[in-house]
């Protein structure tokens, strides 16, 4: 089948890892890898791979709008908002990997089909991709959850400068996503950076405060969800099965990366990228079937 053309906007860690994943896809091809600096590590990698590159940022797309169907926006929340104003007019399907939240929030294991009906799909955050599916299961199976909290710990080395500067947006967007998908109003997200060497794998704990926990059958529901996530994030697994402790249900999951551009411990980047690829591929398939 004909592959849809993808432009990757942003040549940092996220963008470069996406590029490697797109290269492998049966449904997508990268027509342009776009950044601001041709000598950056990501650009060098793209040039090595023989991919067309540009250092003109969003102007690269404005100049040649016919050259892509899908845009992965891996810049920053602020830039992504400005980009969408342009890309919307150009009729592009945008997968937004920043916490800008201009489009519909998507966690593929929960709402993939619904999300691709929109033209701007937001991938929430890395912690959101790891925790929301579990929060969703908890929201479905438990009655009267008072509060959900998610805590992610990631290796320092997997958090680039933009992530560090955008911690507040990370917290806001993750909390918003958890609330939306679990149906629980009161939520909190916490992010820890751990500098330990060797680097720690990304790990996320989901707490649900509930007076009477319904533990029967919960493990099975969670395992079902984990299996669904594994289809697009192979390194995702259950680390500590649900326990009820001190008035709270606790579930811990771990995401190991594929080790494409970034090392395996950077499961936080892998999980959001795998989810983004799943969205773009599904969009590509839906386009093909309509033709």
């Amino acid at each position: 089948m004909k592959k849809l053309k993808v432009a990757i906007l942003g040549s940092g860690n996220i963008g470069t890892d996406l590029l490697v994943k797109v290269q492998r896809s049966q449904y997508l091809e990268c027509s342009m890898f776009i950044g601001r600096n041709l000598s950056s590590a990501g650009m060098t990698k793209a040039i090595d791979l023989g991919v067309r590159v540009s250092d003109k940022s969003i102007n690269a797309i404005i100049d040649e709008p016919e050259n892509c169907d899908i845009v992965f926006d891996c810049t920053s929340a602020k830039d992504a908002i400005a980009h969408w104003k342009i890309l919307e007019k150009l009729g592009k399907f945008v997968v937004d990997l920043t916490p800008a939240k201009v489009g519909v929030l998507c966690v593929p294991a929960v709402n993939l089909q619904e999300a691709i009906k929109h033209k701007n799909v937001n991938m929430v955050t890395c912690g959101g991709q790891a925790s929301i599916p579990i929060a969703y299961v908890l929201g479905k199976t438990q009655k009267n959850i008072e509060y959900i909290e998610v805590v992610s710990s990631i290796a320092s080395r997997s958090a680039g400068p933009a992530t560090r500067l955008n911690l507040d947006e990370y917290v806001d967007t993750t909390e918003y996503g958890i609330a939306k998908f679990s149906g629980v109003d009161k939520t909190k997200a916490i992010l820890n950076l751990n500098p330990a060497q060797p680097c720690i794998d990304m790990q996320t704990t989901i707490f649900a405060k509930v007076k009477e926990a319904k533990m029967d059958g919960l493990l099975k529901e969670i395992e079902k969800m984990v299996a669904q996530i594994k289809e697009y994030v192979p390194g995702y697994h259950l680390l500590v099965p649900p326990i009820y402790e001190n008035g709270r249900i606790v579930v811990m999951v771990k995401a190991l990366g594929l080790g494409d551009y970034l090392p395996k411990y950077a499961g936080n980047l892998d999980i959001i990228n795998c989810a983004a690829i799943a969205v773009a591929e599904e969009y590509s398939k839906s386009k093909a079937s309509k033709k």
Binding site: V151, S156, R164, D168, P195
Partner: protein, 337 residues
């Protein structure tokens, strides 16, 4: 003789010791006593600071708003301070509100190697005209060279002073001297030290910090704080005055404040128990103490094993969820035997 500025986080670090259950009434009582004693800076809040009330590290009895408003009423000459860790506290949700309540001092903290997450919070606090400090927690986990680099980043972001915390109570005086000297040499802003007492060294370490050039010290009444507690304020003041340092604090009145603290705000005075010795040795954050005790007891594992395993994994403050994972791991090993 040298003047040293004392910061008193009794009502913040002490909150760890009571699982963050300090009440508005207790805040009211102690801030009055601290004001009377002339303590220059009084820090108030959840043990992990602003916006940290959570299942992960413990839910607070009182909201940040109640804690800060109560303290604000009583502190006139003493400045009201907050501890603020990005990743827990956001500017919009937490810091903006705290500043509108009228805090004077904002201490923006991160794990010792992660200073760049403090950039926006430090800049915001400076913009608002607050006394702004950078705090490097768990400072024993970084090399001296790296610690200086991280502190320099905070200085560059606008911090008006840098405090390093011995959050595990792991240092001996020589460790402190080495680090404080390097910081004093590498920075253009004053340096401070926050001690924990797991190995009985908090006062000695604080004096070592002064001798190496520190201009600020943290200390709490009766050492009220996480785990084995912090540097004991009233002891420190007595020792400093004997050594000829000036603090502006009235000795009798700080002794009174600590008596009041013992009577009215602490269910028990911090002691160096067996668990806190192991916690200090293994370099684990003192704030883990209550969680480790509770979960170890519930699953019948030896808390000392839990500490050493956590130490091996180099956990940082904020990773309290890993206690559960480690305990489950130990249960698995035990059950397989």
């Amino acid at each position: 003789m040298k003047h040293i500025v004392i910061h008193d986080p009794t009502l913040r670090d002490g909150n760890h010791a009571v699982a963050h259950q300090l009440s508005a009434k207790q805040i009211d009582i102690y801030t009055k006593a601290a004001e009377k004693a002339g303590i220059p800076v009084v820090e108030v809040g959840h043990g992990n600071g602003l916006g940290a009330s959570s299942l992960q590290v413990g839910e607070a009895l009182e909201s940040d708003v109640v804690l800060l408003e109560t303290a604000r009423k009583n502190l006139k000459n003493s400045k009201l301070s907050i501890h603020c860790i990005p990743g827990f506290a956001t500017i919009k949700r937490d810091l903006e509100r705290a500043i509108s309540i009228g805090v004077d001092v904002v201490r923006v903290a991160s794990h010792c190697t992660e200073a760049d997450i403090t950039q926006r919070h430090i800049a915001y606090s400076r913009e608002k005209g607050k006394d702004t400090y950078g705090v490097l927690m768990m400072s024993h986990m970084a090399s001296v060279k790296l610690l200086v680099e991280e502190a320099q980043k905070m200085e560059l972001y606008g911090a008006e002073g840098i405090i390093i915390m011995d959050s595990s109570g792991n240092y001996l005086p020589e460790d402190v001297r080495e680090r404080i000297s390097a910081l004093v040499n590498g920075l253009g802003v004053p340096v401070g030290f926050h001690g924990h007492n797991n190995l009985g060294m908090a006062v000695a370490n604080s004096i070592a910090a002064l001798e190496a050039g520190a201009k600020m010290l943290d200390a709490t009444s009766r050492g009220f704080g996480a785990g084995a507690g912090n540097t004991q304020l009233e002891v420190l003041i007595a020792v400093m005055h004997r050594l000829g340092y000036k603090t502006g604090i009235d000795l009798y009145k700080v002794l009174d404040a600590s008596d009041i603290a013992e009577k009215d705000i602490m269910p028990k005075v911090p002691t160096i128990n067996s668990e806190s010795i192991v916690s200090g040795l293994s370099g684990v954050f003192s704030g883990f103490a209550k969680h480790v005790s509770r979960i170890s007891k519930e699953y019948k594992v030896d808390p000392r094993d839990v500490y050493f395993e956590l130490g091996k994994r180099k956990v940082v403050a904020g990773q309290e969820d890993l206690i559960i994972e480690v305990v489950m791991e130990l249960v698995k090993i035990r059950d397989n035997k």
